[in-house]
Amino acid sequence: MHPTPVDVLWILIASALVFVMRLGFAMLESGLVRSKNSINVSAKVLTDLGVALIAFWVVGFGIMFGTSWKGLWGTNDFLLDFGSLWTSLFFLFHAMFASTGATIVSGAVAERIRFSSYLLITLLFAAVIYPVLGHWVWGGSLTGTTVGWLGKLGFRDFAGSTVVHSTGGWVSLAVILILGPRQGHYNQDGSVNRVTGAGLQTSIFGTILLWFGWFGFNGGSTLALNDQVPAIILKTSFSGAAGMLTALFLGWRLRGYPDVSLLINGALAGLVGATASAPWISTGSSLIVGAISALVMLALEYLLDRWRIDDAVTAIPVHLGAGIWGTLAVGLFGDPHLLDTGLNWEQQTLIQLLGILACGAWAFGVTWGVAFVVNRFRRFRVTSADEAAGLNVIEHKASTELYDLFRTLEEQSRSGDLNLRAPVEPFTEVGQIASQYNKVMDRLQENLVAKADYLSILNNVHEGLFLIDSGGRIGPFYSSVLEEFLGSVPLAGANFAQVLSPLVNPAVMEPWKDFHDVLFNSQIDEQAVARLNPLRQVELWTNNAPGSGTTRHARFQFRRLTENGQVVRVMVILRDVSSEIELQKNLETQKTERESEMELFYRILHIAPELLVDFLAGFDQKSRQINLLMEAGQHTPQDVLKHTFRVLHGLKGEASLLDLPFLVSSIHDIENEIQALEHKPDLQNSDFLSLALKLGRFQETGRELSQLVQKLRNFQTNIAQADVKASHGLVSALEGLAQRTAGKLGKMVSLKTSLNFEGTLAREDLSFWQEILAQLVKNAIVHGIELPEERLRHGKNKVGQITLTAEVHDHYVVRAKDDGQGIDLEGLKKKALEKGYDPQTVAHWSRSDVVRFLFTGGVSTAPTITEDAGRGVGLSFVSSRLSERGGRIAVSFHKGHYLEFVLTLPQRR
């Protein structure tokens, strides 16, 4: 063969156009599958070009166009050496065909086949299935002869309705049957879940590109730019147009809208249908062929879905269905003269049918057999998880921003982690969606945090806190303590009145309905609402087991929540005020008890204590007598009454004697009760209840009286003890004072006391004597008792002795004596001279005058002023305090031996 340069150029252009169909397929398929698989589908379309090209060169071309062995397959031209222009052109054109056929499979099996499985199928297709079939139909065309067995029989397939498209369809069908449908594609009831493709507009662009490529696919199959080419291209296009419109309008009628997928598949079916017959049919026939191609496509699509054969891009109805029809159309519509097979139309049609069957048997049989065997060792299909994740990432680690967004959402829905945020790809739609989604999540998280805080408050607050709406229903959120009050029935959404009714007195709930209307009437002010509140304070049963249940006092408060001036909800605050109420009652009880005790106290105040004690002892004894009489159960009720009456009557006499009218009256009342019972016909034990209670109250009064008397006695004893303690305290205080004072002066002293004040010393007298005795003790130590060495020198015990005695008769007689140096008369005279006394007068002072001087103010023989002595006011103070109360003081002393003060004071009356 020696092509003209124009033919060469046309074949090159046609090859390029067929190549462009690959781009069309890539766009068509990636637009029809989900975005998670779009990259995978496109990658397969690109990859099968490489695989098919090499495989076709290595073996495919030789099998298809090599020297024929019995019309079945070629036997040479493997690893073809492109020695001539024609061979190169021919190879180029058919290599494009081979790879195009393989590409048909990629769409049908999309979204679940392993990438490696697909490569195997592509290799099988380009190296074996397609070349063998091509040999049967087109074998020898390299050299312008017909050597294939089908070709020799007169089978005609101009550009490959069967050889390329049906073969691709058969292979697809076999692989799909091995793979099975995509997850979730078919429902239990047989209905189909249509996939929302990644982008139908991309598919439309792909379809347009395919149509454009078909100019080369069919137009180039003449392998020369002759006068047939434009008509072939036109009839192909007419068929495509007829197919498209048929599918469009029929689908519109059936589905109610112009389905884009039918537009695409209708056009492609029409193009496939005309591929076998374009040069041999009329223009009008091309329209019919195209229209019927679309009908076949629709019918097969319907059947495949019914049989649950899942073809991802409707490749089988388009390529196999329309391919079979197009091949038959050669016999039905082809001009026998133009076909030049020597067969009439019936014979031609039968031969065409034979070719179709042979093609199906070969392509389907080989593919299914190989796929079945291989699938046993290594599954053709990806795992469910991988299928769900999508093959872009699983097979190619190729993510899309949409996929990333999806993964984030999926992870979030799985984990519930609200901190997750979607990746934001700037300047993309998905990025904007992700950005908005993240904002929504931010707000949601803020709200949830706020809600968590709110719930935390509700869980920890001590009051029952909840909202009710205008229908009286409790809101979805309420404080957890509310269940303690109202029980743990589901409170959210429950009617408040219905929940409360079993827990309160029915009368409480009667005004509720009216109050509810008041609550939601915005015209009524808050104060009126508070005033009308029937649940201001109610007694609330707790829903515990019988016996251990308790009641509480609860206080309900209502706060109205308004929107646009209308009350939309009411906040209810429920407080347990049981302890408050109990405290109040306790206080009242205590007050009553105190009052009754005081009353009793006034009533017995006039009675001599010993008489009262004797009476109470008798009261107690007689009460027991009555109790034992009734308890014994040995007497008839009449006897019991008689005895009781007698005992009580005696007690009444004693009470009268003591002038205790309240007891007399109480006994009299009981006597009346007894007399009434005595005269009661058919006396029952239950009639004694009233008597028992009266006796109980009477005895209780006696008990209270005894307690009161006991309290008074305790009080008296405590007072007496307090005086003894005070006296003991005085002695111990004087002892401490003596030792402290002596210690400071380096003296040694022993204090002996005999203060017989106990029981007689009034509290103010105690204070008086404390002051006096303290002065006398200090005076004795400072001025009387000598230093130990001096005492030893004078033959005395080194420890000075102070003796304090007190006696009470008509007078207090208090003596304070020390064994010190006595009074230094000469020393005192000197002191008087120092103070400016007249020397002559002083010279004539008697012993008594000197002693009197001692009691005037400012006289001290101490050399210095200390805390204890030196100011000379001590004895003066003692003297004046005694004089104030009519007392006297006598002094006796013996110089160097002792000094004694004797104080006498009349006792107060």
């Binding site: 019988p546 308790t550 009641t551 509480r552 159960g633 034990n685 209840l689 028992a692």
Partner: protein
């Protein structure tokens, strides 16, 4: 303590006997107890707190309780635990009725069941303590009420 309250407690017990056994119980002459407690072998006590303080107890001998248990549970020879349960059941009935008929003034404790004769039981009751003998099928029990 009012006559009505005391009568209420007595009626709960006597009606219990009538309801369960069909044979009503009678009451003896009520009296006041201040020293030795009137306690028999099995006792159920309900403590009452709140504004009204004190306690109520029902006490019975084995014979009465055995007879009652036989009547209710169809047990021929009930053990001591069953008898104690019986006292518990009766005490619960008293407590349940008290709860129903009196308000929050009676905060009722979980009934306490006692076997034997504790000496300090009167400590729990507030004087004056009323003892009501309960007579049923010639057996005697006591209901003691000591409430402020």
């Amino acid at each position: 303590m009012t006559e009505g309250e005391l009568k209420f407690f007595i009626d709960v017990v006597t009606e219990y006997f009538e309801q369960i056994t069909g044979e009503s119980a009678g009451m003896g002459i009520p009296y006041i107890k201040s020293e030795e407690p009137a306690v028999l072998s099995f006792t159920g006590l309900i403590g009452i707190s709140g504004p009204r303080k004190g306690a109520i107890y029902f006490t019975a001998e084995k014979a009465l309780l055995s007879s009652l248990t036989r009547e209710i549970l169809d047990l021929v020879d009930p053990d001591d635990d069953s008898l104690l349960d019986m006292v518990g059941e009766l005490t619960n009935t008293i407590a349940g009725n008290v709860r129903k008929s009196f308000g929050a003034d009676f905060l009722i404790s979980v009934p306490m069941l006692i076997k034997g004769k504790p000496t300090d039981i009167l400590m729990r009751l507030k004087p004056p303590v009323f003892i009501v003998p309960i007579l049923w099928r010639k057996e005697k029990a006591f209901l003691a009420v000591g409430l402020e």
